[in-house]
């Protein structure tokens, strides 16, 4: 290397443009940092507000009793006590709805995801992939309307757990399909080849090698899909309506935490319960997110 070129470059960077460039670079970095801080602080503001306003209502009966009626709440407010009762009907309803939705969506989603991975370049796969993206973009209220038409009117002849679960499953499906395909792509092809070279039948390559090797990715995708639909309100309003008591019958209406939040919002006596219910929902979703991140980091095969 010619030393004069090095010398020239050195003087260029140290004298000519150094000040201006460095300033631009620092300015750009500051803007990026500012935006990042604003984004982060929104999350902390949400959690902080919910915690500050909602913690007072969180006690044992919050988890063990159903939502109070408006008269009890009014009396409690008038005498300055906390509102009695809790959101047990909402918690059990949400678990039931999301559980049944997962039972419907997970097998479908994983099978389709594997199909897309295995036939990545085929025309059918591309069509399915595009339709999946469209499905993801369907507004949740529209999903609710359609399920109202299909399930509420035709099958259960009334608002039901089943209808709510079908609506949530439809919303989970594209998320699970895409995350399955993506996590399958992370499995090195050499593993698949190793299994095939041992004479392994095709279905066992998938069941015993591909799925176990991408297991953390699959679980992460499912957890994120669950946490995504857990807070859905609009489609549930049209499919499962709500219920003032705990219900385990799949053909009957059920409540859900976001539905209760909506109900509390519409009742001036229940305002305090909005915050504690939101805190609970937010906490649960946050927990699922942290859990999925932990699994992804812990169980990663690379």
């Amino acid at each position: 290397m010619d030393s004069s070129i090095l010398q020239k470059r050195k003087t260029m960077t140290t004298t000519t443009h150094f000040g201006a460039r460095s300033f631009k670079s620092r300015l750009f970095f500051s803007i990026v940092l500012l935006f990042a801080l604003i984004t982060i602080s929104i999350v902390f503001l949400i959690i902080g507000t919910l915690a500050a306003k909602g913690f007072r209502q969180i006690n044992w009966s919050f988890f063990t009793q159903v939502a109070p009626d408006t008269f009890d709440a009014m009396m409690a407010n008038a005498s300055g006590k906390i509102i009695p009762g809790g959101i047990l009907n909402g918690i059990t309803g949400t678990l039931l709805l999301v559980g049944l939705a997962s039972v419907i969506a997970i097998p479908f989603g994983i099978v389709i995801g594997i199909y897309l991975y295995e036939n990545a370049t085929k025309r059918y796969a591309n069509v399915i992939r595009d339709i999946t993206d469209v499905l993801q973009g369907v507004p949740s209220i529209v999903v609710g309307l359609i399920v109202y038409l299909w399930v509420v009117v035709d099958i259960t002849k009334g608002y039901s757990v089943l209808a709510g679960s079908v609506a949530l499953a439809i919303m989970m499906l594209p998320l699970i399909i895409r995350s399955t395909e993506e996590s399958m792509k992370m499995v090195p092809t050499t593993l698949k080849e190793a299994a095939i070279a041992l004479g392994t039948p095709y279905y066992k390559v998938i069941l015993r090698v591909l799925i176990p090797s991408s297991f953390s990715g699959l679980i992460t995708g499912v957890l994120l899909a669950v946490s995504r639909v857990m807070g859905e309100t609009a489609p549930l309003l049209l499919t499962t309506l709500g219920n003032s008591s705990v219900n385990w019958n799949l053909a009957k209406p059920v409540s859900a935490v976001p539905l209760l939040i909506w109900q509390f919002y519409n009742d001036p006596n229940m305002v305090n319960l909005i915050w504690s219910s939101s805190l609970f929902l937010m906490g649960f979703v946050l927990l699922l997110n942290i859990l999925s991140k932990w699994i992804a980091a812990k169980k990663s095969i690379q």
Binding site: P188, A195, L198, G199, T200
Partner: protein, 255 residues
């Protein structure tokens, strides 16, 4: 290369990835039993495709077309079920690829597990111990059999992969540049292992490394642009190559 001891015969084999784009062109050769046959040649000469054609792994690529025959003990492998064929012809890959979700023990018997063949515990233990001794890995891992195979060093992982291929007692073992991702010490161990294994198995080895072929192989193929240019006793090929292209490759003029 007397036909009496041949195990595999490749008859006028041509493989095309796209129409008229041949990766392997009109290759005819017989492979000797209980010997190490090396396939050499520059990148893109078709040596890996030829190797993969022997256990039909090349069929995994899309739009592949194959003409000609490969016969194992006289039976055309293209008329056998692939599952059966691949149990008779094992394969070891360029990069060590033990199953990350399985322990060392499970990796050795992975062939049985993945094929749903149930063995008694004593049989499994025996297969694992014998096979790991065969690949000289037993003493290094006997106290860690239930740890994940991915915790081993690269060289140990590759010997584990050889063990996984051996556990089925195949007729032939195909190796696709098995030492290209390994350090010299691990490479030497694998080479010693292959020389040891040829007493019981037939080995076909693709290698980039000419000195490796010279060190351990009995016969050598030299491929260039999909054609089998020369197929000889290794000593003869290295000391007295017939084709100028072979000589050019062996003396480092290209490749």
């Amino acid at each position: 290369m007397a036909p009496a001891t041949s195990i595999l015969s490749i008859e006028d084999l041509s493989i095309a990835y796209d129409r008229d784009k041949y990766a392997v062109k009109n290759v005819t050769a017989t492979v000797r039993k209980n010997a190490i046959t090396a396939i050499m040649g520059p990148s893109g000469c078709g040596k890996t495709t030829l190797l993969r054609a022997i256990n039909r792994m090349h069929e995994l690529y899309p739009n592949i077309s194959t003409e000609g025959k490969i016969k194992l003990y006289g039976d055309n492998i293209y008329e056998m079920p692939t599952i059966e064929l691949r149990r008779k012809i094992g394969m070891v890959f360029q990069r060590p690829n033990p199953f990350p979700t399985m322990s060392i023990y499970e990796n050795v018997i992975a062939g049985y597990k993945l094929n749903g063949i149930h063995l008694k515990r004593s049989e499994r233990d025996e297969i694992v111990e014998i096979t790991l001794r065969d690949v000289t890995l037993w003493d290094e891992v006997k106290n860690a059999l239930h740890k994940k195979g991915t915790f081993l060093s690269g060289g140990q992982q590759q010997r584990l992969c050889v063990a996984r291929a051996l556990a089925f007692k195949p007729e032939i073992i195909l190796l696709d540049e098995p030492t290209s991702a390994l350090d010299p010490v691990s490479t030497a161990k694998i080479e010693d292992l292959l020389v040891e294994l040829k007493q019981h198995y037939t080995i076909i080895l693709v290698t980039h490394n000419m000195s490796q072929a010279a060190r351990i192989s009995d016969n050598s193929m030299f491929m260039y642009l999909g054609e089998l240019i020369e197929y000889e006793d290794t000593k003869t090929m290295f000391t007295n190559p017939k084709d100028p292209r072979t000589e050019g490759y062996l003396t480092g003029k290209f490749g």
